[in-house]
Every structure is written in structure tokens, then in C-alpha cells.
Amino acid sequence: MTATRTRRRALGDLLIQSLVIAAFLLAWEMTARARVINPFLLPALSDVLMRIGKDLGSGIAIVDLSLTLYRALSGFAIAAAIGIPLGILMARWSLVRWFFDPLISAGFPMPKIAFLPIFVLWFGLFDTSKIIMVAFSSIFPVVSAAYAGTQGVDKWPLWSARALGAKERELLWEVILPLALPQILTGLQIALPVALITTVVTEMLMSGKGIGGTMMNAGRFADSVGVFAGIVEIAVVGILVIRGVEALRRRLLVWHAETRADA
């Protein structure tokens, strides 16, 4: 297919997608307006949007959003700072691998949120315990990806570099890491939404401020508009974060075949 035709097809799909979503939103608004369902259970979209606008204006939403993002990104940063080196070490040192491999693979399917009460016991009721919870949840995909990425590096570039006189430390930074980067980034891309979700859930479980806490409060006070406002905010933040990360990945991997394949 020619390039223009592919672009036209993509645009056509986008149009249909937008139409369907618009229709869905319209249906939501109409059903709520017509009082078909109890407005308590399904508040009108317009009311929800107005609430979001109001909260943004009064600054409440900004506070909540910044708090949630702060916690999520801190936890994520810790997970990355510990997880990436750990994964790399696992790939290079068999003792490290032997010790951590079962812990990581056993930890993956576990509902890590179950450990929250332990973190609260150890670190108190404020931000620290939340951030540690987030880090704990997010670290698994990071370690796994860093391990796989470093492990899977082709030996040919390594051997060439060695033959050209590179020392072990140079080898690590200049050959292995760049080659493992795509997979490491994938791990980070998976970990970021995990960090966000974990933050929101943790906030719900522990109340206080932040999107999760505010939503939970709204729920307790039967403020369904507030609850739905929270959902919309989370959805929007989620999409923005994911798209942002994708763009960042393309920028960082400009040299890689996968980016050039799209161009």
C-alpha cells in the first residue's frame, strides 16, 4: 500500500474511533439527563466535568494531582535506581542471579498490595510508607527487564569491542548498556503505570490527600460526582503518562532499528 493510502486509512480509523467515543460520551450524558438511571449512580458527564473544572480552579485538583504524581514518581525512581543495577548484576554475576531469581519470579504473581500493612507498620502513615509500597510494586518489571536485556546482548559486539581493547568497565557503559537499553526502557514503561496504579490504590487504602484519597472520601460521603471526577482525572493522567513515555522512548532510541522502522 502506498504511504498516502496508509495515512488515509489511519486517519479514517482515528475518525471512527473518535466518533465511537464521542457517541459513548453523548450516550452517558443523555442517559444521565433523562434520569433513566438514578443520578446518584450515574452522574451526568457535564456535572463531572464542571466539578473537575471547579477543583482545578480552586487548586484542590492541582494539589491532589501533584501529590499523587510526586508519590508515584518517587517510588518509580527508587524502583529504577535499585532495579536496573540489580538486573544488570544478576546478568553478570551468577551468585546474585541465584539469590534473587526465585525472589523475583515468585514475587511477580503475588498481590504485592497485600504487603501494604507491613509497610505501614514499619514506616508510618505518611508519604514514606506509600512511596516504599510503590517502589516495591514497581521494581519487579524493572529488574526482570534489566536482567533480560543485559543477558540477551549479542556476544558479537562484545567480542569486537574487547578485540579493540575495551576494558571491563568501558565495556559495561559503552557497549552493554546501550544494547540493553531498549529492553530496560520497556521494563520502565511497564513499571510507570504500575507505579501510578499502586499510588492511587495506596492512597485509597490510607486516605488523606491525593487523587485516591479524595476519591475514597467522596465515596464515603456519597459524593458520586466526586468519585467519577476522580476516575476521569486518573484516566487522563494515565493516558498522558503513557503517551509521554512512548515519545520519550522514541527520542532515546532514535538510533535503534525499531524507531527507524516506523519512519
Partner: protein, 247 residues
């Protein structure tokens, strides 16, 4: 034997834990020693409290997961084969996929209160998307020569869907189900921390509030272990069912 060696580090961790508490490296209040945790576990087990609550939790999770799997596979297959369905449903799936389903906890609380239904609905909603997406992708990815071969052997459209597309998509569907399984545990625990009157999450929260930390640890480790075990069991199930793949 090899499996034992593989999981040895976990024993090492347990040994370190025991050493840390015994030699006063950490306060026994914060980190109950292994013995107390073990004793509390035994107590909970024999009193029936653990089994009762775990049973309620797993029961709800199972219902939600089973419903999500059934609806998800059907929806995924319909999306893959009928164009209007795909055009209608796909954008909605794409829009809702990145949204964390845990965010729906307050919503189901508003809709269904604190009873069983709210948790079942939550798990259903959280688990249905991975199944739909993986079924859709699996069905779309079926090699068309398989479909054509079946057609030329006399299969009707319906037969092709159930006898060729579905089995061919099973590996991918199983992956989606495995993800859904993990989600169900997460949603089960988190929803029970907040909106429950029974269940293992509720038990953990109650024990924590009451200061019975050893028992709390015991429950947390139990649920983590069950989550791990469920995943491994499912993995075994997948391997047995798909033994036609690689000899």
C-alpha cells in the same frame, strides 16, 4: 531436586529473618519472629478463621474471574470476526485499557455497597479487558490458511470459529487469562482492605488494627503464597493443555 535448589534463596531469606529477630537487630514489635508468625498461622488455621475468610475471598474472585473469562472470550471472538462489533467496541477497549481498574473501587462502593456483589463486579471489570484483548489478538493472528483449509474441508462459519479460530488462539488467550488471574488477586485484596465485612483482606486489616502483627504477617504471607501458587498451577495447566506445541 533442581526446583528445591532453585528456591533455596527463600530459605536463606527466612534464615536471615530469624537471625535478625533473634539477635535483636530489629524490634520484635515491627518484625515478629518466625516462631510467632508460625504459631499465629497455626492458630488461625485450626480455628477455621483463615480458611473461612480465604474461602470467601477466593470464592468471590473465582466467580468474577470465571465470568470475565467467559464474557471476555466471547467478546474477543466477536470483535475479531464481525467488523461492526470491532469498530464499535475497539475504541472503548483502547480507552479503558490504560485506566487502573482499582480506581473503580469507590465506584462499586457507591453502586453496590459493601457486600459480595461489589467485589465480584470489581474483579469482573478488572479482569475482562486482558481476556478480551488477548482473545482478539489471538484470533486475528490465526493464519488464514488454517481457516481456508477448514473451509475447503466443509466447515461452516460457526464451525470455523469454534473449531479452528478458538483453539488456534488458545495460547494467547491463556496469557490473557494468566494476567487476569494476577489482577483478580490484586483487586480481591485491595477491595477487601476497604469495603468488606469478611475475606482475607478484611482479616489482614482487622488484625493490623488490633495490633496482632504476627497473625497479620501470617495472613499476608498466606495470601502472597496462594497468589504465587495459583499462578504456578495455572502455568502447569497451560503447559498440559498446550502440549501439542513443542515436543
Amino acid at each position: 531436586m533442581a526446583t528445591l535448589f532453585r528456591y533455596l534463596p527463600i530459605l536463606v531469606v527466612l534464615a536471615l529473618w530469624e537471625a535478625a529477630t533473634r539477635y535483636g537487630l530489629v524490634s520484635k514489635l515491627m518484625v515478629p519472629d518466625l516462631a510467632s508468625v508460625g504459631a499465629a498461622f497455626w492458630q488461625l488455621l485450626t480455628s477455621g478463621e483463615l480458611v473461612f475468610n480465604a474461602g470467601r475471598s477466593l470464592g468471590r474472585a473465582f466467580i468474577g474471574l470465571a465470568a470475565a473469562t467467559a464474557f471476555g472470550i466471547v467478546a474477543g471472538l466477536l470483535m475479531a470476526t464481525i467488523r461492526p462489533v470491532r469498530l464499535l467496541v475497539n475504541p472503548l477497549v483502547q480507552a479503558f485499557y490504560p485506566m487502573p481498574k482499582s480506581a473503580l473501587i469507590p465506584v462499586v462502593m457507591v453502586w453496590f455497597g459493601l457486600g459480595d456483589l461489589s467485589k465480584i463486579v470489581l474483579i469482573f471489570l478488572g479482569c475482562i479487558l486482558p481476556v478480551v484483548v488477548s482473545t482478539y489478538n489471538g484470533a486475528r493472528g490465526v493464519d488464514h490458511v488454517l481457516v481456508w483449509s477448514a473451509a475447503s474441508l466443509g466447515a461452516s462459519r460457526r464451525a470455523i470459529l469454534t473449531e479452528v479460530v478458538l483453539p488456534a488462539a488458545m495460547p494467547e488467550i491463556f496469557n490473557g487469562m494468566r494476567t487476569a488471574l494476577a489482577f483478580s488477586f490484586i483487586l480481591m485484596v485491595s477491595s477487601e482492605f476497604i469495603l468488606a465485612k469478611d475475606g482475607i483482606g478484611y482479616l489482614i486489616a482487622t488484625l493490623g488494627d488490633g495490633g496482632a502483627y504476627a497473625a497479620m504477617f501470617a495472613c499476608i504471607l498466606t495470601v502472597a503464597g496462594v497468589g504465587f501458587g495459583a499462578d504456578r498451577l495455572f502455568g502447569l495447566l497451560i503447559r498440559r493443555t498446550l502440549r501439542w506445541r513443542e515436543p
